[in-house]
């Protein structure tokens, strides 16, 4: 009897070892029991038994992805996606692995397939919009982000993503239109009013823009961006006294706001308040010591004060920092997404 039982057990084990579904089930149990090495072995065993067994391929890919072993995950996910081309998750996860490895174009290709399978997946649309932007595919980013807005009209972040994407693509009228929709949908949102004001200014409706910025500041006095933008606009038009008031407000809301400190120092230079400008520029450098612009402005202040030696030192430092990071002060060109 015992012998019969032993034979049955052996037979069962042998059948189990040849059954990819059973192996996968055991692997899942090993995962839940915190035995990852065993799970990995069982999935590999399942694949060796049945190389086209989708659950094993996919789960092993997912397993490696979750452990951030992205290079290990990719071959299994590629095979999973080939075997089951209509499986959204394989394509999505494959894209995630490529993205983690810095292969943005491959990630986007995988995600484009996933999106074809599930065109209303808002989260994927948003992730893709970000990745398109990172790859400088600004037009694709804009299209994708707009679809996300249309699918989730109650999500304010979808609007902000779409506004930014259209701005990057140089599509200012459309950015304005989305911002107008955001204000209409979220009338109590300081951010929505700020975005609307920002883009009103971009298309030349300056008076309306200023009203929106004021509304934004009224809704949330602690929000630093409206007073910065307002003050910088005044500074650019030579209205230095007024600019100083708003730029100081922006800095009060966020002390490490380097662009606001730079703009404030320019307004102070316009007012010939050299010592105050030096203070602001040094504060900016305290928060961002490798930023070339404060050094450049310090060079100009010292030059105006007649200290040419110090001016030259600051200039040389600014030029050195520029050379070390040439893209720091420069926008990049957009491009079209390559199909292959």
């Amino acid at each position: 009897m015992l012998r019969i039982a032993a034979i049955a057990a052996l037979l069962s084990a042998s059948l189990y070892a040849q059954d990819p579904a059973a192996l996968c089930e055991a692997a899942q149990q090993a995962v839940h029991a915190q035995r990852p090495e065993e799970a990995e072995r069982l999935w590999r065993q399942a694949i060796s038994v049945s190389p086209r067994y989708f659950p094993a391929l996919f789960n092993l890919g997912l397993f490696y992805e979750s452990r951030q072993q992205f290079s290990d995950a990719i071959p299994f996910l590629v095979r999973a996606a080939e075997i089951s081309p209509r499986d959204f998750n394989s394509h999505y996860l494959l894209g995630a692995c490529y993205q983690a490895l810095g292969h943005g174009d491959d990630a986007l290709r995988a995600w484009r397939t996933a999106l074809g399978l599930n065109p209303k997946n808002v989260r994927l649309l948003q992730v893709m919009a970000v990745e398109y932007t990172k790859g400088r595919y600004f037009q694709d980013a804009a299209e994708t982000a707009r679809r996300a807005v249309d699918l989730t009209p109650d999500d304010p972040n979808a609007y902000y993503l779409a506004i930014k994407s259209h701005q990057d693509a140089g599509r200012y009228p459309e950015a304005l239109e989305i911002a107008a929709r955001a204000v209409s949908r979220f009338p109590e949102s300081a951010r929505a009013h700020f975005e609307y004001g920002f883009h009103l200014q971009k298309v030349g409706r300056v008076e309306e823009a200023l009203r929106e910025l004021e509304r934004s500041m009224a809704l949330d006095a602690s929000y630093e961006e409206p007073p910065f933008f307002y003050g910088d606009l005044l500074q650019q038009h030579g209205r230095y006294e007024e600019a100083v008031v708003f730029l100081r407000r922006a800095i009060a809301n966020r002390t490490d706001y380097v662009p606001a400190r730079v703009a404030l120092s320019k307004a102070l230079m316009g007012l010939k308040k050299w010592e105050e400008a030096i203070l602001e520029l040094n504060e900016a450098l305290r928060f961002d010591p490798r930023h070339p612009q404060p050094h450049l402005l310090l060079s100009q202040v010292y030059f105006r004060l007649g200290d040419e030696q110090r001016a030259r030192q600051e200039k040389d430092l600014s030029l050195k920092l520029r050379r070390e990071n040439p893209a720091a002060l420069e926008a990049v060109q957009g491009r079209n997404f390559p199909a292959r």
């Binding site: 948003q126 992730v127 060079s299 100009q300 001016a311 002060l329 491009r335 079209n336």
Partner: protein
């Protein structure tokens, strides 16, 4: 207190998006992409326009090049695609004397020469009363001496002016930096360009434009240089680049140089527009040396501290405050610079507040402050044209094109300009890929005309058909202690309560030579109250109560302003 909403405008809100698979994904907002781009650009959008003034603009330009006999077609490498950057930048042009109608006398004058030309500048290097020319090339440059009989001789070899053959010289300007009364020469080199080592389109990191493979550079290619020659007399020059301190500045792609007294101390300074690198401002130290103070003086970068693709430069006083200001054209996706001289040669870029940031879609080249409607305020005329003919191909997916219209900005007199291109006639609306532009009154009818070099095309000769009762005056200066062509002089004209300031320039615009006669619009004034000339020698002279509407000769040391007859 309501919940604080996501509001980081620099990019996306940083958050976590959960998927059904339990996969977490972070959205990272800040994107720093060390981009593949060969030129400084910043995707700048057009700035908002002010409401139009509604005033009619009375200067209308028509292209009469064909009827005037300017029919030579300029071809620069590939017409539909460019393989190397040397095919892209075109040439300057020179406006020397006013003659109504043109005949090709190149061969007869001894100026026929095969070469890859770039820039031209004029000046009387031997003070014999005849304008000589310097022409720059990719390869050997040439100094032509004017014999005074309608012919020229190549005196390059004996004058000691030669550059290595792989230098791609771009600009040049004559100037008298040491006040010895002889014209010295400054030559800019865009880069040391070598076909044998130049990468091909799309083959290196600086060889694409918006994802499209294009010719490489300038970034990634060897930098250019500046060379200064001192005129020793007897038509011989000495290379003083090192001893004057000019050689200390490195790492740039230099285009157009202008030489004028920019800080008002009576000595000629030099400003050089540089492409995708900081521009250069050599302050004359008044002891035979120069110091680059561009960054300190505020003319190296944009108002936001960006390197820019600088091409052409115009010099003049746009705000009639007595100081010389600068306008510099830049690459597409960027604004020009309007550098207002705040006094003593310190500048601020006021392009935004002046209303000139409204057309960043064009690559700007030739440019000048010029009073196009004779109202006593310097307007601006700018010519444009992209560098990539591939933009016109059917596969290009950008909204840019190789051929662009010209731009005219009317000076409103309050520190602001308005774009009046649509009112300025068919010559302005014409779509060409233009490069050099020279300004002068070629038909001697009392207004400023323009000659323009167009890529893969014949030149344009824009005749100004100005219909106004405004008055004007033209001044021809002749140095005696100073160099005879008075290059480097600064002239102030006071009339009808306005004080206008202009310099006598050798090269400006884009690698081009403007008419050496200075043109001032006078509005309703029929007389000039006072003309003040600061000669390059340092002498300051005043001429009072000069009648308008004609050409006047001012000779250094002579008290009278002599009226000349304009040839028609």
């Amino acid at each position: 207190m309501k919940a604080r909403e996501s509001r980081t405008r620099a990019g996306l809100p940083i958050g976590t998006l959960a998927f059904g698979l339990g996969v977490a994904w972070a959205l990272f907002a800040t994107v720093v992409w060390l981009a593949a781009q060969g030129v400084a650009t910043r995707n700048a959008p057009p700035a908002p326009r002010d409401t139009a003034s509604g005033k009619p603009f009375l200067a209308k330009f028509s292209d009469i090049a064909a009827q005037a006999g300017l029919s030579m077609r300029f071809t620069f490498g590939g017409e539909t695609a460019k393989k190397y950057i040397v095919e892209a930048n075109g040439t300057g042009v020179a406006f020397v004397t006013g003659v109504n109608g043109f005949v090709d006398v190149t061969r007869k004058a001894g100026l026929a020469r095969a070469g890859w030309g770039s820039g031209v500048c004029a000046g009387d290097v031997d003070n014999d009363g005849h304008l000589d020319f310097y022409v720059t090339y990719w390869g050997a440059n040439v100094l032509y001496r004017n014999r005074g009989d309608g012919t020229f001789e190549d005196i390059t070899a004996r004058s000691g002016i030669a550059l290595p053959s792989k230098q791609w010289s771009s600009g040049c300007t004559f100037l008298d930096y040491d006040r010895d009364g002889r014209l010295d020469l400054l030559v800019t080199s865009y880069q040391a360009f070598d076909l044998a080592t130049a990468p091909l389109p799309g083959k290196a990191s600086n060889c694409e434009w918006k994802g499209m493979p294009v010719f490489c550079g300038p970034r990634g290619l060897p930098f250019g240089s500046v060379t200064l020659y001192h005129n020793r007399g007897n038509l011989s020059f000495e290379d003083v680049t090192a001893s004057t301190g000019v050689a200390t500045v490195k790492g740039f792609y230099a285009f157009t140089p202008v030489a004028a007294d920019l800080n008002g101390d009576g000595w000629t300074d030099i400003y050089i527009a540089c492409d995708s690198t900081p521009s250069i401002f050599f302050r004359n130290n008044r002891n035979g040396t120069f110091t680059d103070i561009a960054a300190e003086a505020g003319v190296a970068f944009s108002e936001h501290g960006f390197e820019q693709g600088g091409m052409g430069v115009g010099v003049g006083g746009f705000d009639n405050d007595g100081w010389l200001d600068l306008i510099k054209t830049n690459f597409a996706g960027d604004y020009p610079n309007l550098y207002r001289n705040t006094g003593d040669g310190i500048f601020e870029d006021v392009v935004m507040r002046a209303g000139l940031a409204v057309n960043p879609q064009y690559v700007g080249w030739g440019v000048a402050f010029a009073d196009l409607d004779n109202d006593g305020l310097s307007d601006i005329l700018q010519v444009n044209g992209h560098v990539y003919p591939e933009l016109d191909s059917e596969t290009a997916k950008t909204r840019e094109s190789f051929r662009n219209p010209r731009l005219v900005y009317r000076n409103l007199g309050n520190g602001r300009f308005e774009d009046v291109s649509a009112q300025a006639g068919p010559g302005i609306a014409q779509q060409k890929s233009s490069r050099g532009a020279a300004f002068g009154d070629f038909d001697n009818d009392g207004d400023i005309d323009v000659v323009i070099m167009n890529m893969e095309d014949t030149p344009s000769l824009l005749r100004n058909e100005l219909s106004t009762s405004n008055h004007w005056i033209q001044l021809r200066l002749e140095g005696t202690r100073s160099n005879r062509s008075a290059i480097g002089a600064t002239v102030r004209v006071e009339a009808a309560g306005k004080t206008q300031t202009k310099p006598v320039l050798s090269q400006s615009s884009y690698l081009s030579q403007n008419d050496l006669r200075l043109h001032f619009g006078l509005g309703s004034a029929t007389r000039v109250d006072r003309i003040t000339v600061r000669w390059p020698s340092g002498m300051v002279q005043e001429f009072k109560d000069v009648p308008a509407d004609g050409l006047v000769m001012l000779v250094e040391g002579s008290e009278t302003a002599k009226r000349l007859t304009l040839p028609r």
